[in-house]
């Protein structure tokens, strides 16, 4: 079943087509990777899906409903959460407050305080941040801030999770842990759409990969198909 489907999604910044006529879809339970050179329009596509910016044209169906033009909070309530490439945490608040908020207002909404607290500790442990509850969020290192973003997004109880470069800045061991985390999330029933430049990770976990270049979809397929795609090799992988 298609949980997300975009048709003719277009976004212009002035004359620059950040995404040009992209068609894509995500199936329930999948992990789909999104790759492409820097500036290809990947983050822009995420921004369009999550409602951060208004598209120039196109439709985006989420669970059979066109979510285009909805506000981010409405999209979130429908079960779609995301993380940000440049982390956007509530920097002066504590780690646990960051998550509590998402519990209170996310898809499930109206969670009771004690339940939310329990959920928050559970999520922190899940992403490997246990023991940091009382730490001020901006004092975490960038890698840990990203994990916190994941936890926060999960706290809204999403059915589809958009991850924007979760693995950037992690060393190989940590990348392996993060990969593990992504698989765990999927195991719990959340579909994942992720942008990544770390090949080892994305090739390892994705069921399917979409490659963008200059805002256009240039290729789509299984990891094996993508690694052997001539254009992708040339413009992106450099092999």
């Amino acid at each position: 079943m298609r949980i997300l489907e975009g048709k003719g999604v277009q976004k212009y910044f002035g004359g620059l087509a950040a995404t040009a006529d992209v068609d894509f879809h995500i199936n329930q339970g999948e992990i789909v990777g999104l790759i492409g050179p820097n500036g290809a329009g990947k983050t822009t596509l995420f921004n369009l899906i999550s409602g951060s910016i208004a598209p120039t044209s196109g439709t985006i169906m989420f669970k059979g409903e066109n979510i285009l033009g909805l506000k981010p909070h409405q999209i979130c309530k429908r079960g779609l959460a995301r993380t940000f490439q440049l982390v956007k945490l509530f920097g002066s608040m504590t780690v646990s407050q960051n998550i509590l908020l998402a519990c209170f207002f996310g898809k499930s909404g109206g969670v009771h305080k004690s339940d939310a607290q329990r959920e928050s500790s559970r999520l922190l442990e899940f992403v490997g941040l246990s023991g940091t509850d009382g730490v001020i969020a901006k004092e975490l290192t960038i890698a840990n801030q990203k994990r916190l973003e994941v936890a926060r997004a999960l706290a809204t109880k999403p059915e589809l999770l958009l991850l924007d470069e979760l693995m950037a800045g992690l060393n190989p061991t940590e990348v392996a842990q993060a990969t593990e985390l992504v698989l765990e999330i999927r195991k719990k029933g959340t579909t994942i759409f992720m942008i990544e430049h770390v090949m080892k990770a994305i090739m390892g976990v994705s069921d399917r990969i979409i490659a963008l270049h200059y805002g256009k979809k240039i290729s789509e397929g299984t990891p094996e198909e993508i690694t052997t795609d001539k254009t992708v090799k040339e413009i992106y992988l450099g092999i």
Binding site: N38, G39, T141, I142, A168, L170, P172, Y236
Partner: protein, 234 residues
């Protein structure tokens, strides 16, 4: 060239570095690696003067730099490319690059350096009139590199330069670092991409929880069991 002796550093009450010593010789590439939150960024900030060390000394070209302001350290020839690039968001790409050449000697030759930087990162030339705040993640990183180059520094310090870059660019990046080295530049590189970092460098330090736990020839570190297990995921 740079001598770090028994440095201690902290943010307010939280101590981050304890008794760290490092040496970087003229013309060397040295890698500083370690897990998340081990204090690598803090080390670089201490060297460039953004954080004053609680104890220990820093010497650059034989002069003490642990008590002077960051701008004077920059003027002495240390170029620190901060984590995330930190471009000036409301300036254009070109203006950002020009800011890189702010110190006197660099300013005089900025046209020529700019030309070289554009050769290095052609995309910057394409985006030269765009405000830095609207750049994509990778473009920012390249801008930061370019801006650092503009200063024509004696010592180049990278904080995770490959962060968020497409694989092909990462490859080119490390090639260009090697190129810089060949041209005689001294480089201190902090990387999560440990394999690349140790391959490009001649010596390396491993930082864990604010302490240097290992140091030596890069080649040797790559073969070190601890490093392989903890950082290379092998």
């Amino acid at each position: 060239m740079l001598k770090v002796s028994n440095i201690k550093a902290s943010y307010g009450k939280v101590d981050v570095l304890w008794d760290v010593s490092m040496i970087i010789g003229e013309g060397e590439i040295v890698a500083l690696v370690g897990a998340n939150a081990s204090g690598k960024t803090t080390m670089l900030k201490t060297i460039s003067g953004l954080i004053h060390p609680g104890a220990g000394t820093l010497e650059f070209l034989g002069k003490r730099i642990d008590e002077i302001s960051p701008y004077r350290i920059a003027t002495m020839g240390i170029s620190h490319i901060p984590e995330g690039g930190k471009p000036f968001p409301d300036m254009t790409v070109l203006e950002n690059l020009e800011m890189g050449a702010y110190i006197n000697e660099a300013w005089k030759r900025k046209e020529e350096t700019l030309h070289r930087v554009y050769q290095f990162f052609p995309i910057l030339k394409k985006r030269s009139g765009q405000l830095a705040r609207t750049l994509s993640g990778g473009e920012r990183q390249m801008l930061a590199m370019g801006r650092g180059l503009m200063a024509k520094p004696r010592l180049f310090m990278f904080d995770e330069p490959s962060y968020g870059l497409a694989p092909i660019i990462v490859k080119e990046l490390f090639e260009s670092i090697r190129l810089l080295h060949d041209q005689g530049m001294t480089i201190l590189i902090v990387e999560q991409n440990i394999r690349h970092a140790l391959e490009v460098s001649s010596r390396g330090y491993v930082l864990e929880n604010g302490r240097i736990v290992l140091e030596g020839e890069s080649r040797g570190l790559l073969d070190n069991d601890h490093v392989r297990k903890a950082y290379l995921g092998l």
